[in-house]
Amino acid sequence: MGTSWSAFAQGEKLMFDLRDLMKPHRIVLMLIFAAIVVWCAYTLRWDWIPTYAPLAIEGLWRTIWILIVTTVLGFFLAIPLGLAQAIGPWYLAAPAKVFCTIIRGTPLLLQIWLLYYGLGSLFPQIPWIRSSELWPYLRQAWPYAVLALTLSYAGYEGEVMRGAFSGVNKGQLEAANAFGMPRLTMFRRIWLPQAIRNVLPTLGGETILQLKATPLVATITVVEIYSVSSRVRADTFIVYEPLLLLAVFYMMIAGVITLLFRRFEQQVPGRATGK
């Protein structure tokens, strides 16, 4: 039922965007931008690209993969963290609160290092871990990177979800209660969808912040796109060009995230102002 509405809204939106682009000042801006790109292409050094392209693609893929995995896992952790703080008994609310406070109150770089150098150097001393099936993974850096970024996202979003759960209109839940809806059904059908809907714009912004946190895992030897640009600089002494290209990559990913979340937002209409 919602689909026809959102398809319509999107069609309208796209046409609106096109007409918008054709305004004179926009055309001038686009020409200036095109000139900068052309100037960069001709005056700066790009001959290193063919050599490093395979590594860059691998790094780009790893950045995207880490971003997706950590935001999805982090979000699923954020739901119970938010719920515990919003309505949980003190013995659930307090640990959730402490977790979110610690995560939000300490630098992510520190968390990554604590996990990798702390936990990561503790594990080899425990014999049963060394002999377990997990050991081949635990000796690598990426599980620690994924864990740290997941916990970080969960910590921030746990706080966001706390507000989201508390912010759902009480009447909505009361209606569900009054019709005998079991608690789990109410959570799944009414409470969670409304909570997520209310914080979608925030989550979009937080996901972009998460993207920009991913270069930190380069410090523990995970080869993602930022570390590839460092490699280029170290190998060739070319400094600016790889960084420029890196900025373009991040902006493109951020753009995709923005578009994705805009789509999500359009698929949950129902606000009179939603048009």
Binding site: G171, E174, A175, N177, A178, G180, R189, G270
Partner: protein, 264 residues
């Protein structure tokens, strides 16, 4: 708006008790809001509950389906007593959930689920609580929306509608569970004056077809017209009750006389 589902109403067993509330008490901290209210509605009864603000009339209605936990008392719905702990909270969550599906509640603030269309609102409880097959629930929901005059709004989200339309949809949602008793909690108090009529028309049709209803209202003329029993609450007690002609036409209690004078 034709009469609503008259065919489904069993006119036999008209004496059957739909709901019996005995000595219901409710305190908020030290403030006792209900001081022992008893009320029985038989099948087909329309009981109007009137009273000034703070008289406990809304609290009474919300205690009946345990949206508020009563402090003491007994509630029997369709012959089944709701099991209560000594502190008044429901002892058996399954039971209270099952009984709630027999009590169609209509709220002052409508409380339609804003993230779902009208049709989705109406089928929500039948499909996800009562496990009615989806196609069947949709067919029934379309009929109900038609009957409250919203057949063309099935795919619209609540926030795009007027208060009167939302409240009519909320009534359709309550009807969709085919309730034993309908509970109306000041259904027209949040509406602009010109929208009150359309909602009252729907409720009037429901009364005419023999739906059992408890109706908390400020609309005295309407209460007099549709109810067959009127209860006047004052400070948590039943001050006076009886047939509408008696209560409105020949009130005995001085407080009720005063109340009727002030509400006009």
């Amino acid at each position: 708006m034709a009469e609503l589902g008259a065919e489904e109403i069993d006119t036999q067993n008209a004496d059957e008790e739909a709901i019996r509330v005995t000595d219901l008490r409710k305190s908020f901290g030290t403030l006792e809001v209900l001081k022992g209210v008893s009320l029985t509605a038989h099948k087909g009864d329309v009981v109007a509950i009137i009273g000034g603000s703070g008289s406990g009339k809304s609290t009474f209605l919300r205690c009946v389906n345990f949206l508020e936990t009563p402090s003491a008392g007994q509630i029997i719905v369709g012959g089944e007593e709701i099991k209560m702990r000594p502190d008044g909270s429901p002892a058996d969550r399954r039971q209270i959930e099952r009984i709630r599906t027999q009590l169609g509640m209509v709220f002052q603030a409508f409380n339609l689920w804003t993230h779902r269309t009208l049709l989705e609102n109406v089928i929500e409880v039948p499909v996800h609580v009562l496990k009615v097959p989806r196609a069947q629930a949709i067919k029934r929901a379309e009929e109900l929306l038609d009957r409250v005059g919203l057949g063309d709004k099935a795919d619209v989200f609540p926030s795009f509608l007027s208060g009167g339309q939302q409240q009519r949809a909320a009534i359709a949602r309550a009807l969709a569970v085919d309730p034993r008793v309908m509970l109306f909690d000041e259904p027209t108090s949040a509406l602009d004056p010109e929208l009150v009529g359309e909602v009252l028309t729907v409720i009037r049709d429901l009364a005419a077809e023999g739906r059992t209803m408890l109706l908390v209202t400020h609309e005295m003329k309407f209460a007099r017209e549709v109810a067959n029993h009127v209860v006047y609450l004052f400070e948590g007690r039943i001050e006076e009750q009886g047939p509408p002609a008696e209560v409105f036409g020949n009130p005995k209690s001085a407080r009720l006389k005063q109340f009727l004078k002030t509400v006009g």
